[in-house]
């Protein structure tokens, strides 16, 4: 049995920041376990720029952002194992992992940080009818092939889903000489950043078909064409609107799901909406000493936010190991209402807060000119005007510690108040669509 103070599962930006912060907070004997051949997680395949604006006030590419943390981790002498897969963990914080040099390992940790990231929804998850020809990829898989392995995945491409990964792959494939026929999106609005629609689609004249879906994939051995139809308000294809696009490749960019098999097996309580663990202000789950951060908790759009959150998890893990994390005192719960779909953290213990509490949330629709209101036990503590909120852009609020002094079991509610709702579109949970 190997023994460590802190074991971090996952060596992406979340795991790296958590491990570094735990060390900075005075804990030694830390191990990072990564199943891939190198550290950095998903960032290694995101070769476009736009990372690190908050963190470094610079526009870095994914690999550059990752490298800064990898170098820091190495310089601090933090131990890590690559090509190592964590198979299992339990309530006693015993982990089993395997690789080809050490073989099967049992590892006892005082504290665990879950940082496994997320994975993409596949064709099976959205039930596209038709045969199973070659040439259907998730956008992230294609990104890895093109940007890391050096394989081109196709010449004529259709993309389903207009999240940022889909948009960025539209540009990437075009630059590499492919012809991107169209990006189809089920929703009446894109799930990606507007800047990405401009610089990834408009720049290259790629059409974005909103309120459209795929009704048929043609071809038996290889994709030969895609039939796209317009949908009505209930997301049902409208007969007669079908258009066929000749292509050899279909990329799917239809959402991400936190990767929580390990957490669920170990008995970590999950949030039905985020598909991630329920965490408190310290990023601690219901299992004492088990923390979580990054995309395993909820899908983030900016890696800078992942880093900030993961530092909190790493610092808390260090506090836990040093017996400094307080358990006594009151416990509050957070609740998103009226337009606010979820809030992380779900549980707050004011005792552990230094100055301010940060709440992160997503709204359920595109709203214009609304006010975001925070109430604790029915008492309003904050109100902010928002010109534009959208499900694709995470919102956050800061609450002062003074405002949190209230009874055990109190509720912190955040909701939207519509001043003048200029535009309200139906937003169906992406998962259900």
């Amino acid at each position: 049995m190997l023994n460590y103070n802190v074991v971090v599962i996952g060596g992406g930006p979340a795991g790296l920041a958590a491990a570094i912060e735990a060390k900075k907070n005075g804990v030694d004997n830390i191990l990072v376990i990564e199943r891939d051949r190198e550290l950095g997680g998903i960032l290694q395949q995101c070769i476009h720029n736009g990372f690190g604006l908050h963190e470094f006030k610079e526009e870095l590419t994914g690999p550059e952002y990752a490298e800064r943390f990898i170098v820091e981790l190495r310089n601090m002498g933090i131990e890590y194992k690559l090509d190592t897969m964590v198979l299992d963990m339990n309530q006693n914080k015993t982990i089993s992992a395997i690789n080809s040099t050490d073989g099967f390992m049992n590892i006892q940790a005082k504290a665990i940080v879950l940082a496994m990231g997320c994975r993409e929804r596949t064709r099976g998850a959205i039930s596209i009818p038709g045969a199973r020809p070659a040439g259907v990829f998730t956008a992230g898989t294609a990104q890895r092939f093109v940007n890391m392995e050096g394989y081109m995945v196709g010449k004529k491409v259709v993309i389903l889903g207009s999240g940022d990964i889909g948009l960025i792959m539209a540009r990437r494939m075009t630059l590499e000489g492919a012809q991107v026929q169209a990006v189809a999106e089920l929703m009446p609005f894109s799930g990606g950043l507007t800047r990405n629609i401009v610089q990834c689609l408009d720049d290259y004249g790629i059409p974005l078909l909103l309120s459209h879906t795929i009704t048929e994939i043609k071809g038996r051995d290889r994709v030969e064409g895609i039939v796209i139809a317009q949908v009505d308000e209930k997301f049902k294809p409208i007969p007669g609107t079908e258009k066929e696009f000749e292509c050899d490749t279909l990329l799917l960019s239809v959402g991400l799901i936190p990767e929580n098999e390990l957490s669920v097996q170990a008995g970590v309580d999950m949030d039905r909406i985020t598909s991630g663990p329920i965490v408190n202000e310290a990023m601690e789950t219901n299992i004492e000493g088990v923390f979580a951060c990054g995309n395993v908790v909820h899908v983030h759009d900016l890696v800078d936010f992942v880093t900030a959150e993961s530092r909190r998890a790493g610092a808390s893990a260090a506090k836990y190991v040093n017996n400094e994390l307080k358990k006594e005192g009151t416990t509050l719960k957070t609740e998103g209402k009226n337009g606010v779909r979820y809030i992380v953290p779900q549980v707050v213990r004011p005792e552990n807060i230094d100055k301010t509490l940060d709440l992160f949330m997503r709204v359920d629709n595109v709203y214009h000119n609304v006010e975001m209101v925070v109430k604790i036990d029915g008492k309003e503590v904050k109100r902010m005007k928002k010109r534009h909120v959208a499900p694709g852009e995470m919102e956050s609020v800061k609450i002062k510690k003074e405002d949190l002094s209230c009874a055990d079991g109190s509720k912190i509610e955040v909701y939207l108040e519509k001043e003048a709702c200029l535009k309200k579109e139906v937003y169906l949970e992406k998962e259900g669509a």
Binding site: I47, P63, G150, L193
Partner: protein, 117 residues
């Protein structure tokens, strides 16, 4: 007078800009910061983009290494830049920031590696 509606792509905020053109003079409205103003004028007079891609590498962990232009280049030179990158073959080890192509199209901009390998 002509009004152009643009979206600023300098940062993820994506401010909606109105650029008013009057006798070669441009007024930018809707920008939340000064960078948006520069972008608005430049987008109409001399649009530029950063290019990120990969080039071949021998003896590294992977077959490709990511590269980027270390500043904006004219938008109409993007595909030409991609053609230049096709011809490059690096040998490991390289460090992040190593220059791959110097002063492309006389812009003063270099193509540099964006990771070490």
């Amino acid at each position: 007078m002509k009004k152009h509606e643009l979206v600023c792509i300098v940062c993820p905020m994506g401010c909606r800009l109105d650029v008013i053109e009057e006798k070669e003079k441009y007024t930018v409205l809707g920008n939340k910061c000064p960078r948006g103003k520069d972008y608005g004028v430049k987008e109409l007079t001399n649009p530029t983009r950063v290019v990120t891609s990969t080039v071949k590498i021998e003896g590294g962990l992977l077959n490709r290494i990511p590269v980027k232009t270390n500043g904006d280049i004219p938008k109409d030179k993007v595909f030409e830049c991609m053609k230049l990158l096709d011809k490059i073959q690096l040998k490991a080890p390289v460090k992040a920031g190593d220059i791959v192509l110097k002063n492309i199209f006389n812009t003063g901009i270099d193509v540099v590696t964006s990771r070490s390998m």
